[in-house]
Each structure stands twice: as C-alpha cells, then as structure tokens.
C-alpha cells in the first residue's frame, strides 16, 4: 500500500460520491478564496505603501536637523547650549560626506517667503538646494521642464501643490471633470509646459539692526524689517502629492542653494535657530539630507549622527511601525478567512464521518483481508488531503478571480474620480504556498478524528452488516 495507492483510492471514493465531495470541496474553495483575497488585499495595501516609499528614495535617506529644544526642560536650560553645539554648516556637511556608509549629503536652506505668480500670491517656506540633488530618486517627479541647472541663477522648481495655492491647475485628461465642478472659475487651467520660463516673484523680509535702533528712538520712518523681491525663472514643475511620502515642508519651491545664500533674509525661521544664533553657532542649513550607500548603513550612520549631537529622522525606521500596523491589518483579514476555513473543516469532518458510516462494511472487509489500522487511516487521510489540495487550488483560482473582478470594479470608480488606477491586490508567493499547505493541513486535522474512528471499527461487527 503506497501513498500513490491511497491517493488513487481517495480519488475513486470521492468520485463515487461526487456531489457530496464537490460540495465539501466547494466549502474549502470558498474558505481558501476568502482567506486569499482578504490577505491579498492587505498585502496589496502594504505593497502600495512600501513601494511608494521605496521608489521615492526616501528609504536610504536620513534627515538631520539641529538638536530639538526640549520644551519640558526648565527655561534656563534653553541657554545651556552644550547639547546643541553643532552647527549645520559646510564643515559639518563635509564631515558627514566623509563618514563611512554615507554615499551623499546635501544641505538645504529653508526660509519663509511670499511668492507671486500672475495675480495671485501665497506664503511658503522655500528650499535652497544643490542642483546636483536633482539626480537623486526623490526628485524624479517632474511634469515638465528640468531640475535646477545652475547654482548661481535665479531658477525655481515649483510643485503642483504650490500652483494650486496660486489658483493654477495643470491641464490634463482628468481635468475636464474638475473644470466642470469649478463653476466659480477660481482656477486658471494651463499646461505644465507653458509655465516653463515664466517669472515667479519671491519676496523675503530682511532685518536691519540700524533701522531697529532708529525705530526704538522714535523715528516713524524707520522699519527694521525690509522686503526684497527676487525674480525667479520657472525651470521645472513637480507633481507633489501632499498625501504622499514625497511631501515634505519646503518642497513646494526649490531654488539653487548658491542663489538662496545671496538672498537677504531674516536669517532664522524657527525659535531653535534664534536661540542658536545667540549662542554663537551659526546654522547655514535648515536641514542636511544624508543618503546612505545601502539600507544596512542606515542604522550605524544614524547612531553616529546622533552621537554628534544632531537630531536625526529616518523614514525607513518609521517603516517598521508601518509594517507592524499592516501585520495587524493582515492578521484581522486573515482571521476572517480563517473562520471560513474552519467552517470548511467542519464540512470535511462531516463528509468523512458520513462516508465512514456508509462504508463500515467495506472497512470491515479491508481489515479481514489484511488492512492495518494505519492503512485504513491512510485511506481517509488520503481523501481529506485530496479535498484539501483540490479545494486549495480551486480557492486560489477563486480568490484570484474575485480580486481581479473587485480590482476592475474599484479601479473603474477610481478612474471616474480622475485618479490613476492602482493594483489593489497582491499575491506574494508565501500566500499561495501557505494557503495550499494550510488547506491540506486543515483537511488532515479534520480527517484526524474520522480516520481514527474508521480504524477502530470492529471488523466482526462491520462484516455482520448487510
């Protein structure tokens, strides 16, 4: 009696009662189908989120900012600058660039400003950035034009989000609906290409200590703050989704770092910097963006930077929490599928018990002609395993079809709303193999009791049946 014999016998016996068998298998198919589509949905969500992060290049990125103030500490400690003695300047940037595991680092100047384009204006925080940075993954989201090309010129890369605040929307295929909704004609609709070469006016405030003196002495004409306007040529338009991972404060307006350094400004845009100014250390940059060579370098580099007394943020490390959250979501979705499978398991037990009842005499015969308890168990395990295997394969196909249909319907709605279609479901290999294994395992567990019961049948009693 080989395993092959048992499987052949199982197939035969299942075929004999094909209606009952197929209903039992259908139970497993539905259970596995439910489990698979649920988990595929969870995995799909997780994949969409992680892929968005990975593609943005923010995974190998550490953002360095000056040491944060601890608002819980007593006030006098604010003047204690021992903890925040490192200034974000070129010296530090050089030092970071030379650290092992760091592939690149660049500083960003951030200042508050007012911008005007055409008839509309808004306030924002602009970022002065090295044009070389345009080569990195994080800034590959240009709709039109190029990234900054020259460190000394007044160039600007603007975001669609900034344009929206300036009452301009980028025309596209999905804009027809938006236009119809915009009955008050609030927005101007233009093509992204048409904005290239246009001039954006950047107004910054600067602080003049001499005027400050005058103002304090009662001179009405003296205003310590003066405004200066710099014209910037738009060279590129970025698609920045403010809900997405690429969204970061200061990303709406990028200008060359060298040019930004020449714009007179208040010189600080945060309390931290103000306090740091007083202690002598001077920050040239608001943040330093560090790119590590490989994901494995992330933690050591982060620790090294923290040791230097810097405040460090790495998105990749936040990802652990996101992963954990998805694990919980997948677990909940899995439990729903699992319950469906438990029901399927009960169906298997029921079918096998019924089959044993009908085949009592046959079991007696098998024992009389030399069948052992183990072999008789094997016959019923074989049937359970076949139910599980066929059910699992059917369940995978069903789950796949269900997700295909659901995905198509949902994406139709998404398209109607003017968004890009997404892959909502994802079938990782472990889900496919896992569910086959799980279905067979469950079937065998379901077969445990019926098989034991079959093996225990008294052949003398069984043969008296007729």
């Amino acid at each position: 009696m080989t395993t092959l014999d048992l499987i052949r016998m199982a197939l035969r016996n299942l075929w004999r009662t094909r209606l009952r068998s197929s209903l039992t298998i259908l139970g497993v198919v539905i259970g596995i189908g439910a489990l698979i589509s649920m988990v595929a949905f969870g995995s799909g969500m997780e994949k969409n989120v992680t892929d968005a992060f990975t593609n943005s290049g923010l995974f190998s990125r550490i953002t360095v900012t000056p040491m944060k103030l601890d608002m819980n500490r007593p006030l006098e400690s604010l003047t204690d600058t021992s903890g925040i003695s490192v200034a974000l300047d070129d010296d530090l940037l050089d030092k970071i660039k030379k650290m092992p595991g760091v592939s690149d680092a660049f500083g960003e100047i951030q200042q508050p400003a007012k911008v005007r384009l055409g008839d509309h204006e808004t306030t924002l925080t602009y970022t002065g950035i090295d044009p070389e940075v345009g080569k990195t993954k994080a800034y590959q989201d240009l709709l039109a034009g190029t990234f900054l090309t020259d460190d000394t010129l007044g160039q600007a890369v603007i975001s669609t989000d900034l344009l929206r605040r300036l009452k301009i929307r980028i025309d596209g295929e999905d804009m027809e609906r938006a236009k119809k909704k915009d009955t008050a004609n609030v927005y101007t609709y233009v093509h992204a290409e048409d904005l290239i070469g246009d001039t954006l006016l950047l107004s910054t405030a600067s602080f003049n200590p001499m005027q400050m003196m005058g103002a304090m002495m009662g001179n009405q004409e003296s205003n310590p703050l003066s405004e200066r306007t710099s014209p910037l040529v738009i060279v590129g338009v970025r698609e920045v989704d403010h809900d997405g991972p690429a969204s970061r404060s200061g990303g709406d307006l990028l200008i060359p770092e060298g040019y930004a350094a020449g714009i007179p400004s208040i010189g600080f845009n945060s309390i931290t910097e103000f306090l740091r100014k007083g202690s002598g250390g001077s920050d040239k940059y608001a943040t330093i963006q560090v790119t590590v060579a490989s994901p494995n370098d992330l933690t050591p580099v982060r620790k090294e930077l923290e040791k230097m007394g810097l405040n460090v943020f790495a998105l990749a490390e936040q990802m652990k929490d996101i992963r954990r959250a998805f694990l919980a979501v997948n677990a909940v979705l899995g439990v729903v599928g699992f319950i469906a499978l438990i029901v399927a398991g009960l169906g298997i037990i029921n079918t096998l018990l019924m089959s044993i009842l009908e085949r009592t005499r046959e079991i007696g015969i098998m024992k009389a002609i030399g069948g052992s308890e183990g072999q008789i168990k094997g016959v019923f395990f074989g049937e359970a395993a076949v139910i599980g295997l066929v059910g699992a394969i059917g369940g995978i196909i069903l789950g796949w079809l269900v997700t295909l249909a659901a995905g198509a319907i949902i994406n139709m709605k998404i398209k109607e709303m003017g968004e890009a279609p997404v892959d909502l479901f994802f079938f990782p290999w472990w889900l496919i193999l896992g569910s086959i294994g799980f279905a067979i395992g469950l079937s065998l567990i379901a077969g445990l009791y019926p098989a034991a019961r079959a093996a225990r049948i008294d052949p003398v009693e069984a043969l008296r049946w007729s």
Binding site: M1, T2, G370, L463
Partner: protein, 224 residues
C-alpha cells in the same frame, strides 16, 4: 505439537446483566493440511470461533497457537500479519467491495500484502484463472452470480498465498449446483496442501471433510 492448538478458548459477550458465552472453553487441535468441517445449531458459536481463528476477534481468555506461538501475544500487529499472510477468509455473503471490479477486489488484498502495483494486475488475473473466472476480471460484484462472486472471494482469500482457508458457510447463499462448484474449489485447495476449516449447515458438505466437529452452546460436542 499440532499445527493449530486451540487451548481453553473462551469468548464471552457481556451486555448489561446478560452474559453470552459464545465460545465457552474449547480445546482441540487441527493438523496441517487437514480439511475440518464445523457444524452446529444456529447460535452455537461457530462463527465466533472462526473469527478468533482468523484473528478478526480476540478471546476473553485462552490461547490459539499456530506452530506453537500464541496468535494473540503480539497484539494488533500480530493479528494484522496473521490476516494478511497466514489465513484467507471466505464468508457466506461473499463480502466483496461493491464498487470495485473482481480484479480490483483481489488487487486490494495484494496491496495490503505488499505486492507492487506492477505485479498486482497479473497476479489478480492468475488467481481469477485458478477459479475459472479470468474473463470476468473487469466485472463488478453486482454483475456476477452468487457462485461467481464466491469464487472471486476465494481467489481474493488466496491472494497472499495463505496456508489456511477459513470459510464461514461459503455455500450458504448458493444453490446446490453452485455450492458444489465452491466445494470443488475448496477441495482443490485442500489437495494443494492447504488447511481448510469450513463452517456448514449441510451434512452433505461436511462429508467431504476429513473430520467434522459439532458445536453446541459454545462448546465442542463431539467429533464425527
């Protein structure tokens, strides 16, 4: 030492307050190659004794020794081996598996006996040939006459070449003509050197046996 020694064997069924001594302290011996008939009134314990000899049942007390070793000493494994290789059983109601063909019924016994898949088919046909039913190999039990079905059952009993054939009223469901055919087959097997133990109600059938024992109330009444 005889081939088979039945030694103070007892099988007592208990249900609530009623105890039925189906086999009640029997002792006798069977020689190798003997054709033994067991007769007795209904309920005298004949089938119970045969099932004990076949290792389908276990006694309340006592031993049955084959070649000197107690059949019940090795537990379930010993009984399975005994059923598989030492005895072949034939029943009044044939006991063929209905959804399997004649050949498949025999092949199942061969499979339990450890015969490889490749050999089973030809061995089954050979066995069917021995009982004159080679051409009925692919027929299902319902497509066979009672006599034919019982010959298939005998072929199956021979599958793993046992020394002993245990037959419980093998002709009980058959007319005289078919009963004679079965009896002839059993006599052939006896001539080949097999030990035959057959229960029967029919005194004519018992006549072909070398020895007949009569049972009453679970006990050995007399030997004819």
């Amino acid at each position: 030492m005889a081939f088979i020694e039945i030694d103070h064997i007892r099988k007592i069924y208990r249900k609530a307050t009623v105890t039925v001594p189906a086999v009640n302290d029997m002792s006798f011996a069977i020689e190798k190659g003997e054709f033994l008939a067991i007769v007795g009134k209904s309920g005298s314990g004949k089938s119970t004794l045969l099932n004990l000899l076949g290792g389908l049942d276990t006694p309340t007390t006592g031993e049955i020794r084959f070649d000197g070793s107690n059949l019940f000493a090795e537990g379930k494994d010993g009984l399975v081996k005994h059923r598989r290789h030492r005895v072949g059983m034939v029943f009044q109601s044939f006991q063929l598996i209905p959804n399997q063909t004649a050949a498949e019924n025999i092949e199942l016994a061969l499979a339990f006996g450890g015969v490889t898949r490749a050999e089973r088919k030809s061995r089954a046909l050979e066995l069917l040939g021995q009982v004159g039913l080679a051409e009925r190999a692919d027929h299902y039990p319902t497509e066979l006459s009672g006599g034919e079905a019982q010959r298939v059952a005998i072929a199956r009993a021979l599958a793993n070449d046992p020394d002993i054939i245990l037959a419980d009223e093998p002709t009980g469901n058959l007319d005289t003509q078919n009963g004679d055919i079965i009896l002839n087959v059993l006599q052939d097997l006896h001539r080949q050197g097999r030990t035959i133990i057959m229960i029967t109600h029919d005194p004519d059938m018992a006549r072909v046996a070398q020895r007949t024992i009569r049972m009453q109330d679970g006990q050995l009444m007399d030997t004819l």
